[in-house]
């Protein structure tokens, strides 16, 4: 996929689809959206669809930020309190480290 070669409407459509698809718990998709369309949205000279692409990129960025904070918070909490939670902690754990903490 080369963005250079695509007509603007297609770019907009693609950006929009990536943005919408990211709502299914896919912050990685939002990241891809932001990185990929960044130049299109902010660096390139103005064209008709650019405004909308800009909105999508910005919203994807916001969503990404939201997810990153949520994930970081959760991971910190989990790592810190896992041992104390006892049974619940083990139930939630995918891998349990060996040895004595």
């Amino acid at each position: 996929m080369n963005l250079e070669r695509m007509p603007n409407e297609e770019k907009l459509g693609l950006c929009r689809k990536y943005y919408l698809a990211g709502f299914v718990f896919l912050p990685f998709l939002w990241l891809v959206n932001v990185v990929w369309f960044f130049k299109e949205a902010f660096v390139k000279p103005v064209y008709t669809e650019q405004i909308q692409i800009k909105t999508y990129v910005k919203r994807s960025g916001l969503g990404l930020l939201f997810w990153v904070t949520v994930l970081t918070t959760w991971i910190t909490i989990f790592q810190h309190y896992r041992a104390e939670w006892g049974a619940v902690g083990d139930y939630l754990s995918f891998t349990i480290p060996l040895g004595i903490p």
Binding site: M1, N2, R5, M6, P7, E10, L14, A21, V24, F25, L26, P27, F28, L29, V32, V35, W36, L71, W74, I75, F78, Q79, R82, L92, S93, F94, T95, I96, P97, L98, G99
Partner: protein
Amino acid sequence: MNVSDSEEDSYNERTALVVSESPPLPSYRPEPDPPNDSPTKRPGLSRRSGPPQGVSEELEDEEELTLKYGAKHVIMLFVPVTLCMVVVVTTIKSVSFYSEKTNQQLIYTPFSENTSSVGRRLLNSVLNTIIMISVIVVMTVFLVLLYKYRCYKFIHGWLILSSLMMLFWFSFMYLSEVFKTYNLAVDYPTVGLLIWNFAGVGMICIHWKGPLQLQQLYLILISALMALVFIKYLPEWSAWVILGAISIYDLVAVLSPKGPLRMLVETAQERNEPIFPALIYSSAMMWTVGMASPGDAQETDEEAEHSGGGAEPEERRPRSNTDDELEEDRGVKLGLGDFIFYSVLVGKAAVTGGDWNTTIACFVAILIGLCLTLLLLAIFKKALPALPISITFGLVFYFSTDFLVQPFMDNLAANQFYI
């Protein structure tokens, strides 16, 4: 590899055994991939029968053009192949899971190698190889038939299913092993989110539209995952015999007139459509259909048969031959099975070889083989298998390094004799 300015020729043969398997045992059954590398080269440039008077400069330009492509394309292929091998070797060296001996075996290699006598073991490995290769041949022929009778939906569904399995199941396994190795506690929600994201974006990038680099990265990762599974579950001697047999099969399938891969290419050529947008790694950009002046990418294609997952359809559109520019579109294609079997060879060398000498020797051998194959491609301009030369070199280097060079170096070092 095939350099062509006409339609892309890429042919890809895939032996995906995903659909037929529903594993009854808790053994991992990745579908074996028969890698068929057949660099298909469409003779885009017509054979120069001789420079007409006064156009010798053009001829030189054309020749230069070909050579220029050659060098750049070699580099364009070196990077992903190296990357794949690096991923595999790093994993093997750090995550012990993949180098542990297991009694679980793939269903395609039913004969065990834990036998007492050498002869018995050899026999078992040969039998395993025969089974594996015949499975591969059957799947290939099946695929070619499907393609011939235009059962595109079936093929696409098959590919999607196998790539789903690759992206979800194998990466899940891989992630769990990595976490166990580094003794980390990870919870189910996080893991679930990680895998879902990785696989979801992977499916979108591979089967639909996505940035080229990301797609290439996913293809490399999938090949590495597949190679790791092979390294783990193929018994020792069988693996080496299979590697040898696969390269011979590749040679036969691509070059002989009745070979399935060749038939696939020809059928696709007749129909003027992309052979099979799956399991091909491409380093160039493709034009999308809407383009008015499609420039064809000169693509060196190496087909690899990739079985079981790793369906990476390349978005390819048939291109008519234009002599104009669009040189930037020219790219190189290499089948994913090539990646996989190269990595299997290097990975096996890393597992069982003495130390880094063997691994690096095999790595260099494969790259040399790749270079030679590309050279042959530039000369012959037709479909060529990419496996035989590299694998032969790799095998030769592995065995000679392991049995000759290694003890030699050890002795030198032990006696403090520097040469």
